[in-house]
Amino acid sequence: MTALLRQKPHDEQAVDAAGASAIAVENIVKRYGTFEAVKGVSFEVKSGEIFGLLGPNGAGKSTLIRMMTTLIPVTSGRALVGGHDVVKEPNAVRHMIGVIPQALTSDQDLTVEENLSIYAKLYSVPKVQREKNIAEVLEAVDLTKWRGAQTKTLSGGMRRRLEIARGLVHNPRIFFLDEPTTGLDPVSRIAVWEMLNNLKKSRSLTMLITTHYMEEADRLCDRIAIVDHGKLVALGTPVELKQSVPGSNVVEVQFNREDPEWQSRLQALPGVTDVQSQSAGVYRVLTSNGSQTTTQLVEMAAGLGEQLTSLSVQNTSLDDVFVHYTGRQLRDEQVKAVFQMPPRPGAQP
């Protein structure tokens, strides 16, 4: 567990919850039978910030968000949203939050405006206010000219924007987005990021976003919590998290021949802080000086009469942060997750 995960005393958290913290989660646990999906997670989200929960599928991100949005009961621990306990005052929490689920759930047979209107009614927004809110959110997500269109005629990106508008139609203070750009093409994804940034500024929203996209977390979030196997393994700003990983550059190298000695030879190079073995003779070398390590690595290979198949130098990314804290790559976990779905609520693992 990293030093970035400093636990605050209980009374201090309570003060935060009533004051600047929009969300305060304290040692929260979710158990399905004997399977523990969330294992005592604690964190706070400050008012007005975009907070990211980053982790692979099945890490417990959605379970966490579902507990905070009153969708599933909390096994133990406490979560305060807008100062209200999600267990004791669920309705007060529901009034304060907007939630965008992972799936696109707007009714395809209904128009954009009808979808928004029905959700505004579910929040008992008065008629005059409802019409004003609908016009505003449509403007905010750039769907005004599509307000009369049936949802099934919209593209994936537009439907995601409609979902976001739906979550905002009652003017919530805190906005939960569960993997808001999953399934979108890169252009639509960037458009959604820009829109969320604009919304944060224009509406003073607090946002909690779950994602398994490193770039999304890096570009969008003020702070990020890395979740793995139901635990919080790291928490901080993207910059803090990257700085917490030894080495500021990553050299990725592939040798044409597999040799068990490579690991120790690479580790011995000056400036190298960590060496991670990948498949088929590929190594990720974390170093404090990328250019110097690259030169020495090439010289070492030439001296041994070995050939390099590929070589690249990158700055430390959140991917490296994830590897550092969890011991594996997020990308691999996503591939596995395609074949291994998270357990259903109530099911035995």
Binding site: T70, P73, N91, A103, D107, D109, S124, Q150, R344, P345
Partner: protein, 370 residues
């Protein structure tokens, strides 16, 4: 109230945007009404009966005359002359003819001698309906042949005079009540069962659950919408089916009111039952898999196709708790007999009590969380 209405509004907008639900919910009952209405309950006509006359005497001629009278008048069967009894039996077995009548040698002699004359009838009893009709017709024919030429001095044949208080009811009319109930059941099954679970699986309910809507508002909203859809299906099928079956009851204002009450009661009963069954189901395959089983279990024992009194005791017990039974009894009472409110009171009582009862059980089972 606003939230409850929002759920109803959403469901109804979806319903009217996809009329396929309404069409599909009425398709099966209408097809059933037309096909079964014409296929069942009618008289057998034009069966082919082989006649083997091994007697060729004057009494055999009387039999031929009687058979010709049947063929010309009620037309239950037509006769085909055969010379060989074995061939006739073989043709019954292979289905070339439906039955064979054997007038044995010495038949006329035995009639005159009062020596137990017999006419043979060979039937294909794998088809109970055709063989039953031929047997019945032949029994009437034999009874007629047995009448004495000179009337008895003391009249001993006591007859039973049947008084039918309603005009002859064609089977299609008899079936209409079941078809209306079936249309409403399918509407509830698709609109209240399958779409409800599909919405759950798609995450639509997740969207509801993060709003401040209460459990009661949500349950009542979903059920009210389901009941409205079933009422619309019921009204449509009552009108279309009555016109197809040639029933004019729907033009009597009192009958219309009673029918509307029945449709409403049936909708609430079916919807409550469906909601109770689906309240904890998450898998969209479950309602689809249950559809056929439930249809058979509820529709057939209800008296829609044949009277409940024909059923064994265990099946009658199912009919006793089956809302279809009361819906169909009520619809028949109004559509076929114009029996008035008195004739449907107990049906309405059961349907409303059943609907409210199932909803009262289902509501606490409904989870406000995922």
């Amino acid at each position: 109230m606003n939230r409850f209405l929002a759920i109803v509004e959403r469901e109804m907008r979806k319903f009217f945007r996809s009329p396929v639900l309404m069409i599909m919910s009425m398709m099966l009952p209408i097809v059933q009404l037309v096909i079964l209405g014409h296929a069942l309950g009618g008289h057998v006509k034009g069966a082919r009966v082989a006649v083997v006359d091994e007697d060729l005497g004057p009494q055999a001629v009387r039999v031929h005359e009687a058979l010709t009278a049947v063929a010309v008048n009620v037309a239950t069967f037509t006769t085909v002359p055969y010379a060989d009894e074995q061939q006739a039996r073989e043709d019954v077995r292979t289905g070339k003819v439906d039955a064979a009548i054997i007038i044995p040698a010495q038949y006329s002699h035995r009639v005159y001698a009062k020596n137990a004359p017999r006419i043979g009838l060979v039937v294909d009893n794998t088809d109970q309906i055709v063989s039953g009709a031929i047997e019945s017709e032949m029994q009437s024919l034999v009874d007629a042949l047995n009448q004495p030429d000179v009337p008895k001095r003391v009249f001993t044949d006591i007859g039973l005079r049947i008084v039918e208080i309603y005009p002859f009811v064609e089977y299609m009319k008899y079936l209409l009540a079941g078809s209306i109930a079936l249309a409403m059941y399918i509407s509830v099954m698709i609109g209240g069962g399958m779409l409800y679970i599909d919405d759950k699986a798609r995450g639509v309910h997740e969207g509801y659950l993060v709003t401040p809507i209460s459990k009661l508002e949500l349950v009542m909203g979903l059920n009210a919408a389901g009941a409205i859809k079933a009422v619309l299906s019921g009204i449509c099928l009552t009108v279309i089916g009555s016109m197809m079956a040639g029933l004019g009851t729907i033009f009597h204002p009192d009958a219309v009111l009673n029918l509307l009450l029945l449709i409403l009661g049936t909708s609430i009963a079916f919807n409550g039952m469906m909601f109770l069954m689906m309240v904890r189901v998450d898998d969209p395959l479950v309602p689809r898999a249950m559809f056929g089983v439930l249809n058979t279990l509820l529709f057939f024992p209800s008296g829609a196709i044949s009277p409940i009194s024909q059923f064994p005791k265990w099946l009658q017990k199912i009919a006793f708790v089956d809302p279809f039974t009361y819906a169909i009894h009520g619809f028949k009472s109004i559509l076929l007999k114009d029996g008035g409110f008195v004739s449907i009171q107990s049906d309405l009582l059961f349907l409303f009590a059943f609907g409210i009862g199932t909803l009262l059980i289902a509501t606490p089972l409904f989870k406000r969380t995922l």
